[in-house]
Symmetry: C2
Subunit: 896 residues, 2 copies
């Protein structure tokens, strides 16, 4: 046995040097693997001995700073003795024993001045730290900081612990074996080189992009998740939750050579807004989860470029063709003499269709055949985006050596025994879930109610303003009302957004989900539903309900018996939809991004500055000399990526859902995101505590939500085109009713006649001679029989024909677009071809390597053992099936 084992030492494939000089595996790991490099910036980055690096910080409250400070030294030493004694008894993983507050006389005598509560916390801290030491971590306590009331536990993970954990997590390790990434030759390669040269200035100035021709072959050493992530064993969440510790964070890396500096220059700066992000560096510093967020955001922003280009072209097409548009020409024609029915009861007068000329022309900008093309384009764009993201994700997975890694639900809230016993209180949980669901429905109801309130406001204000005698007021009525209503909507949306975030969290807590991940997903889903409903209800109202339920002259529909339902301007409701959309979208982005994300931090800084002015010089001086872990403690804690993703997915909604009515949405989104990326980057690099690097293969539930939005977008756009715009009525007129196949006469065709003598009593205009002549017939926009038919005012055959055409369009549009999306999905392979070739190649190389190993071993054994049939069968495997990947550990010995 021994002999055979020593034979493998020179056959090993993993080597430490390759580990140290190749792209690192996990940010926390890497930082600790190269401790010698950054010795120049020692400000709290190292233990007192100046050698061991601080990898992680835990903080806690010190109740009585004076008394605590007095026995600091002693506590540090007794601590060790104490926890060591504890360890023997209770060092069981993941299951902290029930606290024995009065069990140990040592603790009781030492801290008898503290109250029971503090005592308990102290006990649990010490036990936890004992566990950490048991796992091989090295701890140093520091309660004598310049920050009164806060104790710091500095944690260092020595090399052997890192190795053990890497093996345990089965991290993929780069091997000694290096292979050349084959550059394709021929025309493709030349084009590639040209493209690379042309995009050179777009790439960040970071080493990682150079010299990628060689790759270290990495072997699937890794599969499971870091469910035992070394300094975060099961329990830290609950310890943080119950206040035993106040914070837990790794340190920012501020030395000059180090990543943070580079990130600051090449990433978190507005001056590089046109460049690609240095995603590899981001991942190195913040971990895969945050790396994926920025990669996703980057791809989304990139994909918005073609979308906004096409959007602008569509908009310009609308602008260019506005003078050739026959319906608006007819409306604006000076000889157009159509008298329209009044828009409100009594106060309003008959009006000339000519007055709607401006609106009609403006409507054409957003209501032309190009819009139909654009919404099909955007549906396919969304499908393409999804597919490209899958590919990008796959590529990143490969580059980050995550290909074998499987995510697992980490049960942070319950221990295994609790999980096993949990089915008993299933009923209680079901009831709670149902309750939470009910409350969600209630909240959606509240949102609807608010939207309805705004509608009522608009109706009543319109009516009131129409009453006014000032003619200029009256002419500006519509615009004023629309704008104020949209702003009110915006404000309501912004306030409810904040409220709903809190409500969703509260609802999810009610449900008591079993795992961290399940908790997060439920929370995200609830928040998403509430925020989505909040943002889009007013828009959906305008798109699909406004102007539909007005009734007809002589029998209008009334709300609360006195308010007539709103009508749309002549060009359809598309124009108003467009106004509402742009105000909501721009307002949300400007206010939430610029005010909340830039303004408020600036304000906070100002307040802090003013406060610091009032402080004594001594204190200020002290602040300057703060240890690194103290400075980081003053930063905002990292609150997760949910708000960032949420903001983006709502924006994605604006970009896709109503794109038929607002082709400029992608452009606004693009402009916003260019700022957003750098804003977020600055926040992560400088304003937040460094987040714990988490591994992730994908963006999780967000992908599903994106898919959901993209799906809903198809049907909503189908309805916007067929019901909100005049596209279908125009087509029907042209091909079914037009005498000469042109659009001439369309305006007349869409309007029905009303005999003013049929007005209900008290509803007719107060001033019937306003236009200067006696009105007998007025017109209104609807397909109804004229007063002289057998069935006056009944919906006409045209109405049904147009309705059938609209519905048919919805079916065709929805199914065609869905089919096309499926085809896009099917045509674009999920794994980029070069990556799949490379994976395949790596596997073959690995196989060859292994086979050589095997043959070497077999020859060795053949020469050692006498070969008889049966004996060989039994003894040979002992040596032959020895694992190769793990021999890297032997090599470490050789290299030191």
């Amino acid at each position: 046995m021994c002999g055979s084992s020593s034979v493998y030492q020179n056959k090993c494939i993993f080597s430490l040097p390759s580990l140290m000089h190749s792209p690192p595996l996990s940010p926390q790991l890497l930082n600790s693997l190269t401790p010698e490099e950054n010795t120049q910036c020692q400000h709290g980055l190292y233990f007192q001995d100046g050698e061991r690096r601080v990898d992680y910080i835990l903080t806690y409250h010190i109740k009585k700073p004076s008394s605590s400070r007095s026995n600091r030294q002693s506590s540090r030493f007794t601590d060790n003795a104490f926890t060591r004694s504890l360890r023997r008894g209770t060092a069981r993983l993941g299951r902290p024993p029930p606290p024995q507050p009065r069990g140990d006389p040592e603790v009781a005598s030492q801290d008898h001045s503290m109250d029971y509560h503090e005592d308990d916390k102290r006990y649990r801290r010490e036990e936890f730290e004992g566990n950490l030491r048991d796992m091989g971590l090295e701890l140093e306590k520091d309660e004598d900081t310049k920050t009164p009331g806060v104790g710091f536990v500095k944690i260092h993970a020595p090399w052997h612990v890192l190795c053990r954990e890497a093996e345990f997590m089965k991290l993929k390790m780069p091997t000694k074996k290096v292979y050349e990434v084959k550059q394709c030759s021929g025309v493709g390669a030349k084009i590639n080189t040209l493209v690379n040269k042309a995009t050179e200035p777009l790439h960040p100035n970071v080493e990682e992009n150079r010299g990628q021709h060689v790759k270290h072959l990495s072997y699937a050493f890794s599969r499971e998740k870091q469910h035992l992530f070394f300094f975060l064993p099961v329990g830290i969440t609950s310890l943080l939750g119950s206040g035993v510790y106040t914070a837990a964070y790794p340190l920012h890396d501020v030395s000059t050579h180090c990543n943070q500096h580079l990130l600051y220059e090449e990433w978190a700066s507005y001056s590089v807004f046109y460049k690609y992000q240095p995603i590899g560096l981001v991942r190195k510093y913040f971990g895969e989860k945050i790396g994926l967020y920025f990669a996703w955001l980057g791809l989304y922003t990139q994909m918005l470029i073609p979308a906004s280009l096409v959007g602008v072209i569509v908009f310009l097409y609308g602008c260019a063709t506005v003078d050739n548009n026959i319906p608006s020409m007819e409306i604006c024609h000076p000889r157009n003499n159509i008298t329209m029915c009044p828009l409100c009861d009594r106060a309003c007068n008959y009006w000339k269709l000519k007055e709607a000329c401006g609106t009609a022309r403006a409507s054409h900008l957003f209501d032309n055949p190009a819009t139909v093309f654009f919404s099909i384009f955007m549906a396919l764009w969304a499908a393409m985006f999804m597919e490209h993201w899958k590919r990008r994700q796959m590529r990143l997975n490969y580059e980050w050596d995550l290909t074998g890694f499987e995510e697992e639900e980490v049960s942070a809230l319950l221990s295994p025994t609790e999980i096993a016993e949990e089915p008993t209180n299933k009923w209680k949980q079901t009831v709670q879930s149902a309750m939470a669901g009910l409350k969600l429905v209630l909240l959606i109801g509240v949102t609807f109610a608010i939207v309805f309130g705004v509608i009522l406001y608009r109706i009543s204000i319109t009516a009131a303003l129409h009453m006014s005698n000032n003619p200029t007021t009256r002419s500006n009525v519509r615009l004023m009302v629309k704008t104020t209503a949209a702003i009110i909507n915006l404000v309501v949306i912004l306030i409810l957004d904040e409220v709903y975030g809190a409500v969703a969290r509260w609802l999810t807590v009610l449900e008591v989900p079993k795992t961290d991940r399940s908790f997060e997903e439920r929370l995200i889903f609830k928040t998403f539903v509430l925020k989505f409903v909040n943002a889009f209800t007013p828009i959906i109202y305008i798109a699909f309900f406004r102007g539909r339920l007005v009734g007809r002259p002589g029998s209008y529909l009334y709300v609360f018996e006195s308010y007539r339902m709103e009508e749309c301007a002549h060009g359809g409701c598309l124009m108003e939809l467009c106004i509402q959309l742009s105000i909501t979208m721009l307002g949300k982005q400007l206010i939430q991004n610029n005010l909340f994300e830039i303004g408020i931090p600036k304000l906070k800084k100002l307040i802090r500055y003013i406060k610091s002015k009032r402080r004594s010089f001594q204190e200020e001086e002290r602040e300057k000399k703060l240890q690194r872990y103290e400075t980081d403690h003053f930063l905002e804690p990292f609150a997760g990526l949910t708000p960032e993703y949420m903001e983006m997915i709502i924006q994605f909604g604006f970009v896709t859902l109503f794109v038929a009515s607002f082709p400029l949405a992608p452009l606004f989104a693009l402009l916003n995101n260019i700022i957003e990326i750098r804003l977020d980057a600055k926040k992560f690099v400088a304003e937040l505590r460094r987040p714990v690097a988490a591994r992730a293969k994908d963006i999780g539930i967000w992908y599903n939500l994106l898919r959901g939005v993209a799906k809903v977008a198809v049907i909503i756009n189908a309805f916007v085109i067929s019901f909100t715009s005049d596209f279908i009525p125009r087509l029907v007129y042209q091909y079914m009713y037009s005498p000469d196949g042109s659009m001439h006469g369309f305006v007349n065709h869409t309007m029905s006649y009303f005999n003013v003598s049929d007005f209900q009593d008290g509803k007719e205009p107060m001033d019937p001679h306003h236009l200067g002549y006696q009105v007998e017939m007025c017109r209104y926009k609807d397909y109804r029989e004229p007063p002289w038919s057998n069935t006056p005012y009944v919906v006409s055959k045209e109405f049904w024909a147009v309705l059938a055409a609209r519905l048919a369009f919805v079916i065709v549009f929805q199914n065609v677009v869905m089919l096309m999306s499926d085809i896009v999905d099917w045509l674009i392979p999920d794994i980029p071809k070069d990556i799949s070739l490379q994976i395949h190649k790596e596997k073959i190389l690995m196989v060859e390597l292994f086979m050589k190993e095997e043959q070497g071993k077999m020859q060795f054994i053949d020469s050692m053992t006498p070969c008889d049939g049966k004996g060989r069968n039994n003894h040979a495997p002992i040596a032959r099936s020895r694992s190769i990947p793990h021999t890297h550990s032997h090599t470490h010995a050789n290299n030191f």
Copy 2:
């Protein structure tokens, strides 16, 4: 190093005994792991020494049996010497060197009687066999069999090769650690026990279902696929393709104790048709891929039970309510006196609506509100089926220890270098793909043409038969024509089915796909498209086109200027759709299953029996003494699962696509499948060569095809309900036009008037007084204006209203059902809860085990090495990061 390595020997967790007595890992593996058990049936199951088991067989043609047989002995020995010399030079994996036919004087002198071609084949065989020996396999040749012209190579994989491959494939190995699968307690458990007792007779009489309370903890030793599956290295496919070998198969296991016997009794027998399948045993014997097929078929059949129950109830509801159906009552009412327009030009006469009484009553069976409910139910059923299959698959993955296993594309056709260089001839390939696509479209065109031909046949025959003067012929015209046309359709479908299978293969070969898997998937997709179009085009024609494009009396639509398009009987086309569906479905199942799958093999057997009668007694005797590998050689080769899956997916199409018109489809499918399972089982156990056990995690592309069919089913059912059935017109009449809100008057409302004086010249009936009175107005089924309106015969307002309602129904139905399916998808978790709990528990147990190991090691090292800060960091990991899973190899030594 040596010292530390020997320490781990007694800490290992994998042990050989557990390997041998626990559920096996891979069928081929297992069979070889227990060679001593089956020594009683030695008929060709073992090598000449009677000890080494035959694991696999390769066969080849011997061109000149006499000359070959004479130097058989010498060839076997020179063979070894020859290949050994070859091996030294060319033993590179997966890349056979170009044949050097005249290079070696030894070969040339020995076989100079053989022609160049045979020589080359022989050379390649020998080289391949040399490679196999290099890999550690043991080979025995046998050319002196009772089967002249066929040479056999028997392959035995010794234990150490199996071990190496198992490790290489990273098969999950059961460990020594055994844990109890927790049985839940409480009410749930009691119910569970009761259910288990009640279903006891349904379970197969197989050991595997008992004693499942204990499970061996298995560790993720495995991840990759068997890309080096030991006896099938890259190249066997091409060797088989070029005829170097004629067959490659493992042996059936025919000893009394063994699985085949048990499978025969408990699975491949009609007498156990009501029982669950012993899936574990199937997988053990045939491998995961075939196991998954039967598991899928089983679940599908099981899921058909509720579907057919509900279908029968819906059908019975139709039967029960046929007498309360007002429209058919009105049609059948004796006082009903409506005169209908003739159904064909000149030859046909006016007829009384009363004559359609029978059809109207029959139509109600399939056209009632319950049908709408049933098609929603079936859409949800399909979604449920998908979800349940995902769960079942997950459960099987867990039970079969496939959870970590990742499938990989095996490039069997190209070597790695070829893959890398392949992009150069990309254009050629693209052109070929496009060509193949074009041909596919052409073939679909052919299918359409054939359908059109059948339509023409039907039209012309109808017209011809109407001409006949025999009154009984004329009354039976419709039924005869329908039935013959449906049968012609069926025959065409059956013939084209066979043709298209071959065509799809040819088209796929044209495309030159790069990998085996890609080839298979493309082939399946093409075959699926062709067979699907083939099976469903006539049905789609009847459902959506027949009777729509007929024109109206006085201006009918003509094909080729003389044939009037077909109309449907009065009750809508649903009745005819139903007839076509049932004939196609039943016919396909009866003929393809019973005739092709049962009849033809029986016939072959009969022929063989007759032939054998004519043989000499000596030959017969010889046949009885055939070696096992010879008997297997005479069995049909295994041709893949594609035909089985294809049959089922087309059936799934019949069950879901037009279920609105044929609620009995699930019942017929159920009856068919109960037979199908046992039929397939018999085939696999007794009539086919044993397939190579292939690992698979899922059913691959079939799942996507199923999803696709289920998606298409939603939209097709929406259209069937709204356009083919009279459901929507009835609703519209009831809520919009009915004077009293009942269905009275509906029949009259759906028919328009025609003034017979408006007939075109030469189109009016020859015998206008056939009914005994002068007809002035006749009626036809359409919504058109009456002759006395301003716009006679123009489609009426009712037409547009009904059309709008139909289209609205399609939109609502499609979106509601899609939403409900998504909700079903979302509500049912993909991983069954007990499985996810168990996986979690296993992981925790594994972690605990590992931690104990670690601590043991650390203590050992602490006691061995002097502890100084830096030295510890560098030296400690050597021992601590040693891999634990692989220490099983040491244990093997201990156990032997």
